[in-house]
């Protein structure tokens, strides 16, 4: 028996070795993180990504993780400073003329692509024309948001792409014409959609392969790609020694690891496999009591706001939700503080405005648009008595006593979403007798599909800011906007927004700012949506890593000034 056991042990070991030897071909055993560039003295930082990098193509990318990696590699005309303000990057200076409709950007002489060719004004012209022609998801950054001259007409097919309001006066001078003044235009220029592409390099590639590997991607920024494939769960970048600002970059590179769930991210952090991880609310509680992590927690604004959207058409719930009093009853029945304290738990902020705080500050006063969260407290903060009064009014107006609504929510949108949905169900039913809430979970894709086809009653949904201006939210509720999922329509509101974007207020910054408050008041007074909370990210950062800049808008994390000791 003993010999048999021994034999079995030997056989098992042999089998394992054989299996390993037979199949292990092809890999080399270079340890990760050894791809440091010669000139860089620092260490690489090892960071967690929440999702795969879907695209490194500036015109195709749509998600925050992709934008972050693109911005590691490519500089736009401007870049974000630590506070989110636009500071010179490829453009070292610019002139603004014609009431803010004509920008002349002067490009720096020492900006080069990683293949050695200089960054020219034509690289921007090429990239922007391609973006407008492609008319991809973020195409509206050129038209509605950026107001680049003729962008909309080209997208509609009524103008030729050469008429786009971007021209290269010479190699180092880029002229941009706008339809109307855009107060936040400089900060748009750090959004990846507006980044340059080297035309000659791009046209030398096989179709569909741009940005799909280190060989098919050029950098002009702080880092160059060394390892990437679409679908890859790990990617690496190293410092770009040819970067014009290379002297200020201390990192030797960035090693990204996609971690699908935050469940084992904390363990990866604790054993040193990752320097920066994002954890969920439950893990924050655990990390706070753990000596190894309690000093390393950093809560940063994620930018996006969760809210309840009500379908106000007759297609759903007999059209009951078109009744403003019913919506006000629901929004007053929600205890937002309880939601963030008991269920989200990651530092997210209870929100009482339809434009969330933390991302849009006035350029004249520097004040956050939504710093004052009590502005609409009387129409949406938790007040059971008031909620019941609104419900009574709604019951009288509609001639109905009992209501039943289904809230749809995504089951792949974060660990806390299901808990939040259940809490909302409980809160509404406890506060509003006669209102029954059912829950229905589905994938985010399905949820969006239902909302876009007006096949839902109430949805737990979110919106993230695309640019640092309240209009990124307020623009949603104009009549017939694709994101106006409630199908609310108000002529006064539409006029206010038109005045702020293309009309009377575009040249008067403060008047525009105040008009946006007026617009927000209309949305809040009718409870077009019920804002819930502004999401935060709970990051855990190794003590030896400093200088990572976190932003709630455009680029979530910027590593240029990061130092690993």
């Amino acid at each position: 028996m003993k010999t048999l056991k021994k034999l079995l042990g030997v056989a098992l070991a042999a089998a394992m070795v054989m299996a390993l030897a037979a199949c292990g071909g092809g890999g080399n055993s270079t340890p990760s993180g050894s791809g440091n560039s010669g000139g860089a003295s620092g260490k690489p930082v090892k960071a967690m990504l929440y999702t795969n990098v879907m695209s490194l193509d500036t015109n195709l990318a749509t998600d925050g993780d992709s934008f972050e990696v693109i911005a590691d590699c490519i500089d736009g005309l401007t870049q974000m400073d630590a506070d989110g303000a636009a500071v010179p990057a490829i453009a070292e200076s610019w002139d603004i003329e014609n009431d803010g409709t004509l920008y002349t950007f002067h490009l720096r002489d020492d900006a080069n692509w990683s293949n050695g060719t200089p960054v020219t004004a034509n690289d921007f012209v090429f990239a922007w024309q391609r973006g407008v022609l492609g008319n991809e998801e973020y195409g509206y950054m050129f038209s509605d948001i950026g107001q680049i001259k003729n962008a909309q007409a080209i997208m509609d097919g009524t103008a030729d792409v050469t008429t786009l309001g971007v021209t290269a006066k010479d190699d180092k001078t880029l002229v941009v014409e706008l339809e109307v003044p855009v107060s936040y235009f400089e900060s748009l220029m750090y959004f990846p959609t507006f980044y340059p592409i080297n035309q000659e390099f791009y046209e030398g590639l096989e179709e569909g392969t741009y940005g799909t590997s280190p060989d098919t991607y050029l950098s002009n920024g702080a880092f160059v790609l060394t390892d990437y494939l679409p679908g890859t769960a790990s990617l690496s970048l190293k410092k770009n020694d040819g970067y014009y600002d290379a002297a200020k970059v201390s990192l030797s590179g960035i090693e990204y690891q996609v971690v699908g769930s935050s469940d084992n991210a904390l363990s990866a952090f604790k054993n040193g496999s990752l320097d920066i991880v994002m954890v969920n609310g439950d893990q924050v509680s655990a990390a706070e009591t753990d000596a190894a992590t309690k000093d390393n927690i950093k809560v940063t604004g994620a930018g996006y706001m969760w809210y309840l959207s009500f379908s106000q058409t007759a297609n759903n719930a007999n059209g009951y939700l078109a009744n403003a009093n019913l919506r006000l009853a629901i929004t007053n029945a929600l205890d937002r503080e309880a939601l963030v304290d008991n269920y989200v738990k990651d530092g997210s902020l209870a929100t009482y405005t339809c434009v969330p705080p933390q991302f849009a500050a006035s350029s004249t006063t520097g004040e956050d648009f939504s710093a004052d969260q009590t502005r609409f407290a009387d129409v949406c903060s938790f007040d059971a008595a008031k909620a019941q009064d609104y419900l009574k009014k709604a019951q009288e107006e509609l001639g109905v006593n009992d209501f039943k609504f289904t809230i749809i929510y995504g089951n792949n949108e974060g660990d806390e979403v299901a808990k939040v949905a259940q809490a909302i169900q409980q809160q509404i039913q406890d506060t509003l007798p006669g209102v029954t809430i059912e829950l229905s979970n589905m994938t985010k894709a399905e949820r969006l599909d239902k909302m876009q086809n007006d096949n839902y009653e109430i949805a737990l949904t979110r919106w993230g800011p695309d640019y640092a201006d309240p209009m990124t939210y307020l623009g949603m509720w104009i009549t017939n906007n694709a994101n106006n999922y409630g199908f609310w329509s108000n002529a006064e509101y539409d006029q206010l927004i038109a005045d702020c974007t293309t009309g009377a207020y575009v040249t008067d910054y403060d008047a525009r700012w105040n008009a946006m408050y007026d617009a927000e008041t209309l949305v809040m007074n009718e409870a077009v949506i019920a804002p819930l909370y502004t999401k935060a990210n709970a990051n855990i950062i190794a003590s030896n890593v400093t200088g990572v800049e976190f932003h709630p808008v455009a680029l979530n994390r910027v590593y240029k000034n990061c130092i690993v000791q």
């Binding site: 749509t62 569909g208 494939l229």
Partner: protein, 314 residues
């Protein structure tokens, strides 16, 4: 034998075709949207649908799809997943990772499973037999990703022998934990089948006769017992191989392996439904399955002449 193989081959091709057709229809019925964008206008989405031919009658779409595969060797481009990138440029790396790790798991699982099964059968009702049964029950009951989490915890966190996440620069080292966790199910299945089949064969008359003629030890086991016991094992092995090769959905996700299992999950449960990825992966999966079954049928013929004979007569 050639006729037998040809007939099986014809059936295999027909099977793949039917699967592709059914998949094609099912994918289009699935809830969700291949362009799950909140920022595109209705016109933009309409233009995208037009570009992908999604508004054509489904028969036309299907013919175009098949044509595209055979004429251009293309599975199309991604829409919600890796937008605009041709699928054929994404697939090879994923297939390679899944196949290599799956291959390791199969080899390891088969060898260990066979050894365990043989030892158990030869020691029927003794300690080794009970030991193997326990391993089998554990291996069948506990999902591979649970093993994966434990292995990761002990061997990458508590004692750091292996990388915490898959690192393709250290392929061998990174592949050990996922390969072991994936192989446990096949170890258990193969060990159980081998044991049961061998016990049955060992009780049969011809083994008794062989023993009576003085045959024993290795020649008896390999020539008479194992050869007969192997037939049913080959049947269970086939689907196991396909399962392992096509990647383990959760294990790949946990360990950060860029494989086709993870790709499938991303294509279905990501932001949207990527029709082309779901289809391409579905076709690859079914083609592999059919191919392995074809091989199994042929191997049957080799292992058991009676099957060849029946086929000849049929």
């Amino acid at each position: 034998m050639a006729k037998y193989i040809l007939k099986r081959l014809g059936l295999a091709i027909l099977t793949i075709f039917i699967i592709t057709l059914v998949l094609f229809i099912l994918v289009r019925i699935m809830p969700g949207n291949p362009f799950p964008s909140e920022r595109m206008s209705a016109e933009q989405i309409a233009a995208k649908r037009l570009e992908m031919g999604l508004d054509d009658p489904i028969v036309v779409q299907f013919i175009n799809y098949i044509k595209n595969i055979f004429v251009n060797g293309s599975f199309g481009k991604g829409s919600s997943l890796y937008n605009g990138v041709p699928i054929k440029s994404v697939l090879p790396a994923c297939i390679s990772n899944s196949f290599r790790i799956g291959g390791m798991a199969i080899l390891f699982g088969t060898i260990v499973g066979l050894i365990l099964g043989i030892c158990a059968a030869l020691n029927k009702n003794h300690f080794l037999d009970v030991f193997c049964t326990v391993i089998s029950i554990i291996g069948v009951c506990v999902p591979s990703y649970v093993f994966m989490i434990y292995l990761q915890y002990f061997f990458s966190y508590k004692i750091t022998i292996f990388p915490f996440y898959f690192d393709k620069n250290q392929f061998l080292l990174s592949a050990v934990l996922p390969a072991i966790s994936l192989s446990l199910f096949s170890i258990a299945t193969i060990a159980r089948f081998t044991r049961n089949e061998m016990v049955e064969v060992m009780d049969s008359d011809y083994v008794l006769l062989a023993q009576a003629k003085g045959m024993h030890g290795a020649p008896l086991i390999t020539k008479h017992i194992l050869r007969n016991a192997l037939i049913p094992i080959v049947t269970v092995l086939a689907p196991l191989i396909v399962d392992l090769l096509t990647g383990a959905l959760v294990v790949e996700k946990i360990y950060g392996i860029n494989g086709i299992g993870k790709l499938m999950v991303d294509a279905i449960a990501g932001e949207g439904i990527d029709y082309n990825y779901v289809l391409a992966l579905g076709i690859i999966y079914s083609a592999l399955y059919t191919a392995v079954m074809l091989v199994v049928d042929v191997v049957y013929g080799l292992l058991d002449p009676r099957i060849r004979v029946t086929a000849k007569r049929g």
